[in-house]
């Protein structure tokens, strides 16, 4: 659960958010919409603590919540291999490197043949999939997804949606900036950035019933990990 209390943010004299108050529940997908330049990405960065609020506060229900961030940049090192990248991020986030988990995750996103190739030679889609693998491997409590579907093909998008649903079932809090129509059907709440504030409404996730079984499978899958 994340709560924004009277959050304002301005860059120099440019006001981006004025007095935003909102809360994002855990175990739910929050879709964030808005025009280009309206500050969607900034909102995610504020929540991640990457950018400081000008006034107001952002409170987490858990102090030690792990945050996974998927953005426009891939956050990968081009001169390391796919495997080395994942191993580094695992250690950097305070987990011990687990070879099996990494290889399994690489297989999951379909990068097994490229596990030991330099990331620099990857296509945009492959890099994005590896980036997704990085986030999933860290098993975050909060997902900040900034248009994660960019550059992904159809199969990978389905994979991404599956993972989002799995994470929801794991009681994670998912903030998802997306243009996708599919996004609307998954979301528990839809927030729109307009007029320097955030307007949220409840939504009926249409895939709820359909994913019921899938979610259970997902949990089983997690236990195997």
């Amino acid at each position: 659960m994340i709560t924004l209390k009277h959050v304002s943010k301005s860059f120099a004299s440019r006001l981006l958010f004025r007095d935003v108050t909102a809360s994002f529940a855990s175990g739910a997908v929050h879709l964030i919409l808005g025009r280009n330049g309206s500050g969607k990405s900034t909102l995610l960065r504020l929540i991640g603590g990457l950018s400081r609020v000008t006034s107001g506060s952002i409170v987490f229900a858990r102090e030690d919540a792990r945050i996974g961030y998927l953005g426009h940049a891939t956050f990968l090192y081009p001169n390391l291999t796919a495997y080395e990248n994942l191993a580094f991020w695992q250690k950097a986030y305070g987990q011990s490197a687990q070879e099996q988990a990494i290889l399994k995750m690489l297989a999951h996103v379909g990068l097994t043949p490229f596990a030991h190739s330099r990331v620099g030679v990857f296509s945009r889609g492959m890099a994005q999939r590896l980036s997704l693998a990085r986030v999933l491997l860290l098993r975050p409590d909060i997902y900040l997804l900034d248009e994660p579907e960019t550059g992904l093909d159809k199969t990978s998008r389905v994979l991404l949606q599956d993972e989002i649903l799995k994470a929801r079932a794991d009681n994670a809090c998912i903030l998802w900036v997306s243009h996708l129509a599919e996004g609307q059907s998954l979301a528990d709440s839809i927030c729109t950035v307009q007029k320097k504030t955030l307007v949220c409404r409840q939504a009926q996730p249409q895939v709820q019933i359909e994913t019921g079984g899938r979610t259970k499978d997902a949990q089983k899958g997690d236990e195997q990990c």
């Binding site: 990457l50 940049a73 580094f88 950097a92 986030y93």
Partner: protein, 224 residues
């Protein structure tokens, strides 16, 4: 605890040794040594103090390049964002960068030292253990300030010159210490007891380590 620092240092070292980055800074240092050897008249030897000064100037240039490289790693694909999101404290990033920088500078110096001996015709005197201690202290200082101020270049390209403008004068006291102790290592008769320089360097390191640990989180942020 310190897991991020160690992981980061190891990753940076493997990246630095893989690319051309370290080779570039080593070559620059060696080139400096060679160029200075031109300033000698035929048949005459460079004084110990001059050799020491050249050794530390090379190290200094190497330090600037190394830290620019280390912080550039985090910028190419925006990895800084994810480092900062790690649950580990930001000072871990500082420690990781400083550690990696220390090792890289040291590696470069292993090559500079014989180059100085060969090109500038130096001999190593009995006070080499003192020199080794000084090397450790001076490299710590170089790494400390390098890791703190190298972070200034975040989100910047081609700001090496500004970094060196800041770092060189700030490091001047430490360099004076290092040069005078190394002059003694190269057999120059030292008027001053080198131990006072060692003490001074230790104090310098302690002060700047403390300052860097306090201030790094202000310099290294998610904002561009």
């Amino acid at each position: 605890m310190l897991k991020l620092a160690l992981a980061l240092a190891r990753k940076d070292l493997s990246l630095a040794l893989r690319g051309a980055g370290l080779v570039q800074s080593i070559l620059l240092g060696l080139l400096l040594v060679f160029m200075f050897s031109l300033s000698q008249k035929t048949g005459s030897l460079a004084s110990g103090q001059m050799a020491a000064a050249i050794f530390w100037l090379s190290s200094l240039f190497c330090q600037t390049l190394v830290f620019n490289m280390l912080f550039a790693f985090e910028e190419t694909q925006g990895a800084r964002t994810c480092l900062l999101l790690s649950p580990a404290p930001v000072t871990d990033i500082f420690l990781g960068k400083a550690l990696a920088g220390f090792v890289l500078i040291f590696l470069a110096q292993i090559l500079f030292f014989p180059a100085i001996i060969v090109f500038l015709g130096q001999t190593v005197s009995q006070s080499w253990p003192m020199g080794l201690l000084m090397l450790f202290l001076a490299d710590t200082g170089l790494a400390c300030l390098g890791a703190l101020l190298g972070a200034l270049s975040q989100g910047q390209t081609a700001r090496e010159s500004l970094l060196s403008l800041l770092v060189f004068p700030l490091l001047a006291p430490l360099l004076l210490a290092a040069i005078s102790v190394f002059a003694a290592v190269f057999g120059e008769q030292a008027g001053e007891d080198p131990t006072s320089w060692i003490g001074f360097s230790a104090a310098f390191d302690a002060i700047f380590l403390a300052i860097a640990l306090m201030l790094f989180r202000f310099v290294y942020t998610g904002e561009d």
